[in-house]
Subunit: 117 residues, 2 copies
Amino acid sequence: MSLRIKRTSKPAPLERSVPVFAALGDETRLKLIAVLCVGGAMSITQLTAGTALTRQAITKHLAVLADAGLVRDAKIGRERLWEFEPNQLDEARRSLEMIASQWDSALERLRLAVETP
Amino acid sequence: MSLRIKRTSKPAPLERSVPVFAALGDETRLKLIAVLCVGGAMSITQLTAGTALTRQAITKHLAVLADAGLVRDAKIGRERLWEFEPNQLDEARRSLEMIASQWDSALERLRLAVETP
DNA sequence: ATTACATGCAATAAATGGGTTGCATGTACG
DNA sequence: CGTACATGCAACCCATTTATTGCATGTAAT
């Protein structure tokens, strides 16, 4: 039996990354992601401490990030810990690389068309 | 004289990518970027043709993309041609890679801390 | 049990975003 | 010149987002 690479995996449509980009397109949320990335799991009050916003504002931002699949939460005792979830961010990264590579090949086609009359 | 890699280049603060992500966080705009990427420079009416929206709606979306530095425009005769501008998108890509790598190293530190008592 | 802390829920209020319509302007072409 | 086409500008509408305040609930700790 030969080694099988999964051939059925689709290129993941660009649209799927829209909510991820929208979630990252806010300074507060991007900072939250960065903080969670280096600091591991943190509670809401901990995350609020670093900002000029209210706890509830941060809670809503975390909800947006969670809807985009960028963070996960788990209740521990009386507090709720949030942690970064890398899957969706990786997919967004692939989306950007997809666009960039299409651009590069378009440039290449143009260059060839110009150089060879 | 030794070969000098530019040491003074700053890591490009994460914030700078916020407007870029915000611009990409909309289905219409992400499609516009994709279209401009493969199709080269296009006029507003051309870009509008592929959508269910008004010309003015597309104009506004293009303005958002331009503010984020993702597209450039040039007036040619009576029409205005828009083309993709890869610089900001590349920077956004680097931002995501920065975050991902920080996450990876954080995981690595955690793994080491657990395995070595 | 009581006090302190962490969070959830709901009702706002203000601002932003996405979209439309109507009209004006500028350029090309017969 | 006059008509057709590409675009610009401004006012407006509606839905969503962002952030706040006030109060309720649940869990810890003394």
